[in-house]
């Protein structure tokens, strides 16, 4: 694995996520505890006992007379105080000046979408908290990988045994990705070419998932559909470039199939190309987002019971229902973080493996007694 390919992958990741990330930026409309609002993206980083760290706002705007403009502010507050921006309410209309002053007074400006006083926002490029965590995770991945790569380049871990806790720990992960994921799924001949991507994506997702579990300040970068979608687009593009002649022949002209079935089969195969990365993106997003929703809902049980039956029932249910279940789900999420990183990497490797596979003898009767028999079976199951 070369340092350069890691850097290139990371830079690409950053660029794509930067321009796709904040499009879905949504926030709860008020400060009430809200399951969706809690796990959604936002323009601040919550350090709840201390305060909220407001994040930069970058807007590409089109003014009323059609001119494009670009505005950058360090915080949402400064954007609103500049006089060029106001906020929209639930109905999407700009609020009145009196209401605007009221919102600024109460400090609730973070819960309303900002909008220019005249014209509209073309693209909201603001650094949201999930995007911030994508940057943090990407930086960590870069530091980890460049550190390890320089060690391997010196021969530590290749010629002599790895030294120290850190290197031994990471060596376990790297050997796991190489021997349990890349080798069996892609095959001995080609796995080395795709190992850098698989390692990057594995460590990226693992760190992104785990950082989301940090109490109070953690934000799960991977619970944003754009982040997981970007990762899936990478797998998709790499899979298509890995495709051999046989792979495309199987899609565009399936061998051993009667002619009248082909008009049905070929569209299905082409749709199948796109459903694979879609399911990758939705699986990771759904798993990470649902964990947060479940935790907020479990804690919500206590508040619902309090509202229905009074404070005593609420407190007791908090102790005997909410907290034990939350701890259970939290531990489960710890496991799911690692399992989802494994599954994403494994499926990426399997898809790449299917595309990169060379068929040496053309007996397409479903009987491949080659190295990649398990891959074929899994592909059939997919």
């Amino acid at each position: 694995m070369t340092l350069r390919s890691f850097t290139a992958t990371l830079l690409g990741l950053l660029l794509l996520i930067t321009f796709s990330g904040p499009a879905f930026a949504a926030d709860s409309d008020d400060g009430d505890p809200d399951a969706l609002g809690h796990s959604a993206d936002g323009n601040y980083w919550d350090w709840r006992p201390i305060g909220k760290l407001e994040l930069p706002r970058l807007f590409l705007t089109r003014s009323a007379d059609g001119a494009l403009g670009f505005d950058a502010f360090l915080t949402t507050k400064s954007a609103l105080n500049s006089g060029d921006y106001t906020v929209r309410d639930n109905t999407g209309e700009r609020v009145t000046e009196a209401r605007f002053a009221e919102i600024m007074e109460a400090g609730d400006h973070l819960y309303y979408p900002a909008t220019p006083r005249d014209g509209k926002i073309v693209v909201d490029l603001s650094i949201t908290r999930q995007l911030l965590f994508v940057f943090i995770v990407a930086l960590l991945v870069y530091l980890i990988i460049s550190n390890l790569a320089s060690r391997y380049a010196k021969g530590i871990g290749r010629d002599v045994a790895p030294k120290g806790v850190w290197h031994n720990m990471m060596e376990t992960l790297i050997v796991f990705v190489r021997d349990e994921i890349a080798r069996p799924a892609i095959g001995e001949a080609k796995y080395a070419k795709y190992l850098p991507y698989l390692l990057t994506v594995f460590i990226f997702i693992m760190l992104g998932n785990l950082l989301g579990l940090v109490p109070w300040i953690g934000v799960t970068a991977t619970s944003h559909i754009m982040v997981t979608g970007t990762l899936a687009v990478f797998t998709f593009v790499i899979t298509q470039f890995a495709g051999t002649k046989d792979y495309w022949a199987h899609i565009l002209n399936p061998p051993g199939v009667p002619g009248f079935v082909k008009p049905i089969l070929i569209p299905i195969e082409i749709i199948g190309l796109f459903t694979k990365p879609l399911s990758l993106a939705f699986r990771l997003f759904g798993n990470m987002a649902s964990g947060h929703l479940v935790i907020v809902s479990l804690i919500g049980i206590a508040f619902i019971l309090k509202a229905a039956f009074g404070a005593v029932v609420g407190s007791v249910s908090l102790i005997i229902v909410s907290i034990p279940l939350t701890v259970f789900i939290y531990v489960l999420k710890l496991a799911v973080s690692l399992i989802q990183a494994y599954i994403f990497t494994m499926l990426s490797a399997v898809f790449i493996g299917i595309a990169a596979e060379e068929h040496h003898h053309h007996d397409h009767d479903g009987h491949h007694d080659e190295l990649h028999a398990p891959t074929e079976q899994l592909a059939a199951a997919a």
Binding site: S279, F282, R283, N287, S290, I339, I343, L347, P374, L378
Partner: protein
């Protein structure tokens, strides 16, 4: 019923079907995998790998259903 009420109903019923199906599927998969490991403990690693991967496929269907249910509610 209000029209938007049907969206909530659809989301709930959709989740019911998806979780039922995925639960049954994962249950069958796990049962078979555990049986296979009991019969052939030396193949435990291969079986576990395949089972996790296939569980991910089954789970994927449930998650896609979940996302659609969420869309029904958010876009009602």
């Amino acid at each position: 019923m209000e029209p938007s009420g049907f969206a909530y109903l659809a989301a709930g019923l959709g989740l019911l079907g998806a979780t039922l199906g995925a639960g049954l599927g994962i249950g069958r998969l796990t049962a078979s995998a555990v049986e296979a490991i009991a019969r052939q403990p030396e193949a435990a690693n291969d079986i576990r790998g395949a089972a996790i991967l296939l569980a991910a496929f089954i789970e994927g269907v449930a998650i896609i259903a979940e996302v659609f249910a969420l869309l029904f509610i958010l876009l009602k």
